[in-house]
C-alpha cells in the first residue's frame, strides 16, 4: 500500500493531481491534495524535499477541508485580549497549530513572511506546536490564519498571559542555573577531594580543603535553596517531606565542614553532598519537564472555546459575520451549520435538523428539532442548517455551569501523601533517635568532641538521597515511556493512585460503544431488480434523517450507481419512497420494500467497540470492580450489558451528570473512564479520571490521564504499568534503606569517614539508578 504524499498515511482511495498530462500522487483525501496544490502554487514545493529527508516523529493526520474566514481575528475586542506588542511595536499573536510534525513544518511556518502580506516575523516552537506571528500595520491576522489553514495547519489563537509566562520562564531558567552551578562545583570539588584522599602533602592539605569549602558554599546556599524552602513550607504546614532530611544533611555537612576548616582539620563531606545536590536537582528538573509536556491546563484552555461561529443580522439572515464564541451575547442570532457544536443555550428561529445530545446527556439517539425548540450549548447539530437566537451565553449556559463545577472541584481532589514522604516520616524519627543514642553512647566511652562529630556524621551520611533520586527517576521513565505509547499521565501521584484503585467506573457512549450509529445487520430476503445498494443510495440521497445517514455510510463503500428517482418523497417519521426503473421502492420501519414486498431488513445500533469485551475481562483480572455508568436509556444499556456478559449490578442507566458524580464521589479509590462533556464532572470527582481518545477537549481539563487511542484496551495496560512502576519504587526504597542501614552500622562501629561516605553514597545512587533502568520483566516487555 502506498503512502499519501502530504500526510504519509496509508492511501485507501487514491486521489491524484494531474497537470500537463502528468500525475502527482497518491493523496489520501481531497484535503491533502488541496494543501499540496496551495503549497506548490506558492512556490514552496521545497517543503516536500525537506520532508523527504526527515525522520518522522509524529504522525500527521490527514487534512480536513474546511473553510473558515477567521475574520473575528481582526476585531478590536479580540485583538485587545489576545494580541500583544513585540519589541518592535508590532502586533503579535500566538497560535496553537494542529499537525506540526517535522522540520518541513518548521520551514514552511517560518517562511510565512515571504508569502503572506504584512507578516513581519514568524517563529515556531515545535515542542509546543505554537507559532508566534508578528504583523506590520499592513497585515491582518485573519489573512495569516486563513493561509495557515490553507496549507494544512489549523490555527487556534492562544491567549497568552504575559506575566505568568514570564514567571514560568524565569523559574525554569533559575532551575537550570542551579543545576549548572551545582554540576560545575561538584566537578571541581572532586579534583581537590581526590587529591586529599590520595594523600596530598601537609603543605597542600589546608589549601585544598579551603578550595572545596569555597566551591561548596554556592551549592549549599544558592543551589540548595529549593530544599530549604520546601522543608520550611512542610514544617510550617505541619506535614512531612523528603526534603527535610536532605536539608538537614546539607546544613549539618556545611556547618561541620566550615567548623573543621577553622580548626585546621582537612575533613569534610562536600564532595558527596555537592554531587548529590546536583543529581537531585537534575532528576527533579527532568520530572518537571516531562509533566509539563503532558497535560497542562493553561495550554488546553483555549480548546473548549472552540470554533468561530457565524452571527447573522436579525433583519436579514443572509448577512453573516464571523465572531469568536467568546463574544457571543444574549439575543444574538447565530447560523449553525451541519456538524457544528452549538455554542450557546438558545431557541431555534428557523430550520430543521437533528441534534446529537450525547455530549451533554449520554443519550445515543438523535433528537429532532424545529423552530421554537430549545437547544443547549455543547450539543451537536447533525444534519440541517439552523438559525438560533441566543438565550444564555458562555458561563451562563448549562455546559458553562458544568465546566465551572469542574474548575471549582479541581483543587479539591484528595491529595495523597505519596510513598516517599510517608517513608520520610519514619525515616526522620529513626535517624534522630539513632544519632542521639550514638551521641550519648560515644560520650560515655570517649570525649564530647568525638561524640558530637560522630552524631553529626551520622546525620550527614544518612541523607536519603538514593531514595529522593530513585523515585523521580522511576516516574520519569514511566511517564515518558507511556507518553510514547500515547498515554499521557498528568503527574507522578496519578501513577500511585492508579496502582491502589479498587473500583473502575466506565462511561458507555464513546468508551464501550463507538458513539456512531451503524447498520450492524442486513438481512436480504429477495434480490431487487436494481442492486440494493443503489436503491438505498438513490432514495436516501437527500434525506438528513440519522437512519438515512448511516444507511448511506453503509452503502458508500460499494460505489453505488446514481440513478434517476421519479416521484421521490420523504414522509417525516415514516420513511422515503420513489420510483426507480418503473419499480416502486420504499424504505420504512427498518425495511426495504420493492412494489410493497419486503426485500430486506436491517438493524441499527450504536456498535460496541471490538476491544470492549476483552478489555473489560482484562480489567477484571486486575482485581477491579467494574461498573458502567450511563446517561442513556435503560434498554440500550441493558442490551450492551447483555452482549458484554455483565451482571445486573455492574451497570446503571439514566444517570444525570450530577448523579454520576455523586456515585463516584462516594467511592474512594475509584477510577472513572469516559469522554464527553457529560463526563467532565465525573472525571473530576473520581480519584483518577481517564479521558479516552475522542473525548471532548473539556474532559481533558478534568482528567488525570489522557489516552491517544479510542476505547478501553489501553486502560488495562495502564493499570499494569502503574502497578509495576510501584513495584520498582518499592524495590528502590528497600535498596536505599539497606545502604542507609550500612551507613548507620559503619557510624556505630566508628568506621565512617569522608572517604567511606564518598564511596557509599554514589554507589547507593548508582544501584537505584540501575534498578530503575532495569525495571521489571513486565515493564521491559511493555516498553519494547
Amino acid at each position: 500500500m502506498s503512502a499519501c504524499i502530504h500526510c504519509d498515511q496509508e492511501v485507501i482511495h487514491a486521489h491524484y493531481h494531474s497537470e500537463d498530462g502528468r500525475e502527482c500522487g497518491p493523496f489520501c483525501c481531497q484535503g491533502c491534495l488541496t494543501v499540496f496544490n496551495v503549497i506548490n502554487f506558492k512556490g514552496l514545493s521545497e517543503y516536500y524535499e525537506i520532508k523527504k529527508n526527515v525522520e518522522l516523529f509524529k504522525k500527521r493526520a490527514p487534512v480536513e477541508l474546511r473553510s473558515n474566514h477567521y475574520s473575528y481575528l481582526d476585531d478590536v475586542d479580540f485583538l485587545n485580549e489576545y494580541a500583544h506588542k513585540n519589541l518592535h511595536n508590532e502586533l503579535t499573536m500566538e497560535f496553537y497549530l494542529e499537525g506540526i510534525h517535522c522540520a518541513a513544518c518548521l520551514w514552511i511556518i517560518e517562511k510565512l513572511p515571504t508569502f503572506v502580506n504584512g507578516v513581519s516575523a514568524s517563529k515556531l516552537n515545535m515542542g509546543r506546536s505554537v507559532a508566534t506571528v508578528s504583523i506590520s500595520n499592513l497585515g491582518k491576522f485573519s489573512d495569516v490564519a486563513r493561509e495557515l489553514d490553507n496549507i494544512g495547519y489549523r490555527p487556534h489563537p492562544l491567549k497568552v498571559n504575559q506575566s505568568t509566562k514570564d514567571l514560568k520562564i524565569k523559574e525554569e531558567r533559575s532551575m537550570l542555573l542551579k543545576i549548572g552551578i551545582a554540576g560545575a562545583a561538584a566537578g571541581n570539588i572532586m579534583l581537590y577531594a581526590v587529591s586529599l584522599y590520595a594523600g596530598a602533602g601537609p603543605e597542600y592539605e589546608e589549601l585544598f580543603n579551603a578550595m572545596t569549602v569555597l566551591f561548596a558554599l554556592p551549592v549549599l546556599t544558592y543551589c540548595s535553596y529549593p530544599f530549604y524552602r520546601t522543608s520550611y513550607l512542610a514544617l510550617k504546614n505541619k506535614t512531612l517531606s523528603i526534603d527535610i532530611p536532605i536539608a538537614m544533611s546539607l546544613i549539618m555537612g556545611g556547618v561541620m565542614g566550615i567548623y573543621n576548616m577553622i580548626n585546621h582539620v582537612p575533613e569534610n563531606y562536600f564532595d558527596s553532598l555537592t554531587a548529590l545536590v546536583f543529581l537531585l536537582l537534575l532528576s527533579r528538573y527532568f520530572l518537571k519537564t516531562i509533566q509539563e509536556k503532558g497535560l497542562s491546563t493553561t495550554d488546553l484552555h483555549f480548546f473548549y472555546q472552540g470554533e468561530s461561529v457565524l452571527k447573522v443580522d436579525p433583519n436579514d439572515f443572509s448577512k453573516n459575520q464571523e465572531i469568536h464564541p467568546k463574544f457571543i451575547k444574549e439575543q444574538d442570532y447565530l447560523r449553525i451549520l451541519p456538524n457544528q457544536i452549538i455554542p450557546a443555550d438558545a431557541v431555534v428561529v428557523s430550520g430543521e435538523s437533528y441534534l446529537n445530545n450525547s455530549l451533554l446527556t449520554g443519550e445515543s439517539g438523535l433528537q429532532k428539532i424545529k423552530a421554537n425548540d430549545h437547544v443547549f450549548s455543547g450539543t451537536m447539530n447533525v444534519s440541517g442548517e439552523l438559525i438560533i437566537k441566543v438565550e444564555k451565553a458562555s458561563s451562563e449556559t448549562r455546559l458553562g455551569k458544568i465546566l465551572k463545577n469542574v474548575e471549582n472541584g479541581w483543587g479539591q481532589k484528595a491529595q495523597i501523601i505519596d510513598i516517599t514522604n510517608l517513608i520520610s516520616k519514619y525515616f526522620v524519627a529513626a535517624v534522630f533517635t539513632l544519632s542521639f543514642i550514638l551521641y550519648f553512647w560515644t560520650l560515655r566511652h570517649h570525649g564530647q568532641k568525638e561524640a558530637l562529630e560522630l552524631a553529626l556524621t551520622l546525620l550527614i551520611v544518612t541523607c536519603p538521597c538514593a531514595l529522593a533520586i530513585a523515585t523521580p527517576l522511576t516516574f520519569i521513565r514511566t511517564l515518558s515511556k507511556s507518553a510514547q505509547k500515547g498515554i499521557i499521565i498528568k503527574d507522578d501521584a496519578v501513577v500511585e493512585k492508579l496502582s491502589k484503585a479498587k473500583y473502575i467506573y466506565i462511561d458507555k457512549t464513546g468508551t464501550i460503544t463507538q458513539n456512531q450509529l451503524v447498520v450492524d445487520q442486513m438481512n436480504i430476503y429477495h434480490q431487487t431488480q436494481v442492486t440494493l445498494e443503489a436503491v438505498i443510495y438513490n432514495l436516501e440521497k437527500h434525506s438528513l434523517h440519522p437512519v438515512a445517514m448511516c444507511l448511506k455510510e453503509c452503502v458508500k463503500i460499494s460505489n453505488p450507481e446514481v440513478m434517476n428517482v421519479e416521484d421521490a418523497k420523504e414522509i417525516s417519521g415514516v420513511g422515503v419512497s420513489g420510483i426507480i426503473n418503473g419499480h416502486f421502492y420504499e424504505i420504512k420501519n427498518y425495511g426495504i420494500y420493492e412494489d410493497h414486498k419486503l426485500m430486506a431488513d436491517f438493524h441499527i445500533q450504536d456498535a460496541l467497540r471490538t476491544d470492549a469485551k476483552a478489555s473489560l475481562d482484562a480489567l477484571r483480572l486486575q482485581g477491579l470492580k467494574i461498573q458502567i455508568l450511563s446517561g442513556d436509556k435503560k434498554e440500550n444499556v441493558q442490551a450492551i450489558a447483555l452482549e458484554l456478559g455483565l451482571n445486573e449490578n455492574e451497570y446503571q442507566a439514566e444517570l444525570s451528570p450530577e448523579k454520576k458524580s455523586q456515585i463516584i464521589k462516594s467511592t474512594p479509590q475509584s477510577i472513572m473512564v469516559g469522554d464527553g462533556a457529560n463526563d467532565a464532572i465525573a472525571l473530576a470527582s473520581a480519584d483518577t479520571g481517564i479521558a479516552v481518545f475522542g473525548a471532548m477537549d473539556i474532559s481533558l481539563r478534568a482528567a488525570d490521564v489522557y489516552m491517544n487511542y479510542p476505547g478501553l484496551s489501553n486502560v488495562a495496560e495502564l493499570m499494569t504499568i502503574s502497578k509495576e512502576t510501584m513495584k520498582v519504587i518499592r524495590r528502590n526504597l528497600v535498596l536505599s534503606l539497606c545502604y542507609n542501614s550500612i551507613s548507620v552500622l559503619l557510624a556505630y562501629t566508628g568506621h565512617i569517614s569522608p572517604l567511606t561516605a564518598a564511596i557509599v553514597m554514589p554507589v547507593s545512587s548508582l544501584t537505584v539508578l540501575i534498578s530503575t533502568l532495569i525495571g521489571t520483566k513486565t515493564l521491559r516487555g511493555l516498553w519494547k
Binding site: G43, Y48, A103, I169, L176, L177, N188
Partner: protein, 59 residues
C-alpha cells in the same frame, strides 16, 4: 610543585569563564527551546523559494 601556584588560579579562571558563559546563555534564553533550533539550522536557505509562482514541484 610550585607549578600548583599557577595551576590552581588557572583552573579557577577557566572554570569561572565557563560557568559565566553558562549563566549568560541561560539568561539569554538559549535553553528555553531545545528542540526547534536544532531543526532550524539544518534547513538551508534557497533563493528559488521566494516569489516565483510558476515553480511547480516535481515529485
Amino acid at each position: 610543585m610550585e607549578i600548583i601556584v599557577f595551576l590552581i588560579p588557572l583552573a579557577l579562571i577557566l572554570g569561572a569563564f565557563f560557568v559565566g558563559c553558562f549563566i549568560w546563555m541561560t539568561k539569554k534564553g538559549q535553553y528555553d527551546d531545545l528542540e526547534t533550533p536544532g531543526h532550524r539550522m539544518l534547513l538551508d536557505e534557497h533563493n528559488k523559494v521566494i516569489n516565483n509562482n510558476t515553480h511547480k514541484g516535481e515529485l
